[in-house]
Amino acid sequence: MRFKIVSLLLVLGLSVFLPLNIQATTKTTNLYFFHAQGCLTCAAESEFLSTLLEKDPNLKLYSYELAFDQDNQEFAKKISELLPNPINSTPTLVIGQKVIVGFVSGTTDLEIQESIDYAQNNVIKDVIGEVLGIAEVTNGTSQTTSQVNLPFFGKVEAKSISLPLLAIVLGTLDGFNPCAMWVLLLLISMLFHLEEQWKKWFLGSIFLLTTAIMYLMFMVSWLNITLLFGTISTLRWLIGALAIGGGGFNLYRYFTTEPGCEVIDDRKRKKISVRIRQIFSQPVFVLASLGVMALAISVNLVELICSAGLPVLFTQVLSLNQLSGFEYGVYMLLYLAMFIADDVIIFALAMKTSQVSGISTKYARTAHLVGGILMILLGILMVIKPEWLMLNFG
């Protein structure tokens, strides 16, 4: 009798777990892979997906070539309307409602694995599967991203706070790096000799605007490079090493340089002074404006190397997060706004008060210290834990 009761309880007990186990082992997860012939990143992702399929028989891959196949292009266009993000670049992998754009070895592969695990352990809505008629229509859940609980704001996506915060912090630190500030101050001091107020504002604004555009172009170019060659881990390691090296140099400068303005090479300084005088002696105002633009371009090209570390690091973090074009633009503009803010304030104050005010070098020194530490930390993360920069802390 006792044996029968134990057996019955065992069978009942097992029956509780049995359906779950069956569901977990037999549930098929559909992966929808949109790629293009000749695309190296697609090839790298395809290779990774093949290894996944070999390991896990519950995965099923549906591939769609988009470069030459018009039917697939139409299909991608149709289902883009149903997905949270449209499919407008390759490679793109869709798992349930999760759209993973691009492929970076060491980061995207982890994201893909995480999404597969989520799909296998939860009831997800297989949007494309429903359209194809290979998946049941369910409400399902969509994979959530890292969330943090903030007072007053409640639950907020970590990505939506951290990337703007990073843009603000790095942009501000970069702004206090006074590499090209001496040229602005020289320009302002010479602007005071102009009689008409509007000309002073106009020429100064042109200098700042050209500087901002130059910097934005540099950031966009670098972002494109990292997006294009993102699959090459060597590039990520190289940027990580550059960040660690640059951070170390910033710390070295903090500890070794005295507070004050570094004396700029005599020849370089005189050359720029002569150029500014020539610009202001132009009888035609349009030529003077073009001269200021040319000055801003040439100065910033030379001085760019002085602060290239932070924007390179920032664009690399952006590319790791695989955002939409609009989001890339917004974050880069935010960075740029913080970068140029101190120059704008100095210029506006000088124009209003007819007096140039300086900024204490203590801020620049603090920026070297904080920026140096931050660059080293981000550089190390980029090499050993790039997924943390994508805010995947799992």
């Binding site: 101050l185 020289l186 004050g260 004396v263 300084r269 300086g358 070098t361």
Partner: protein, 85 residues
């Protein structure tokens, strides 16, 4: 004692210290101050600049006896000049 103050229009630390220099000068009426711009005043070429600006050169009978270099607070200037003399 003569104090030569070397500054430049492009140096933000020099601009930041303008008020400090003025107060320092007022605190020491016994010294004569000369403010020179390293680019605009030819006389500035008589002095070596060093690595950072601004520079305060203390001269006694035409000979340099002390030098204060870089961005300083008023307290720093007073302390360093008191210590030297």
């Amino acid at each position: 004692m003569k104090v030569v103050v070397l500054t430049a229009v492009w140096c933000h630390a020099c601009l930041f210290m303008k008020k400090t220099f003025k107060t320092f000068e007022q605190n020491h009426p016994e010294w004569s101050f000369q403010f020179l711009d390293v680019d605009l005043d030819a006389e500035a070429e008589c002095y070596s600049l060093g690595k950072v600006l601004p520079v305060l050169i203390f001269l006694k009978d035409g000979q340099e006896v002390h030098r204060i270099q870089g961005e300083k607070t008023l307290d720093d200037l007073e302390r360093e000049s008191n210590h030297a003399f």
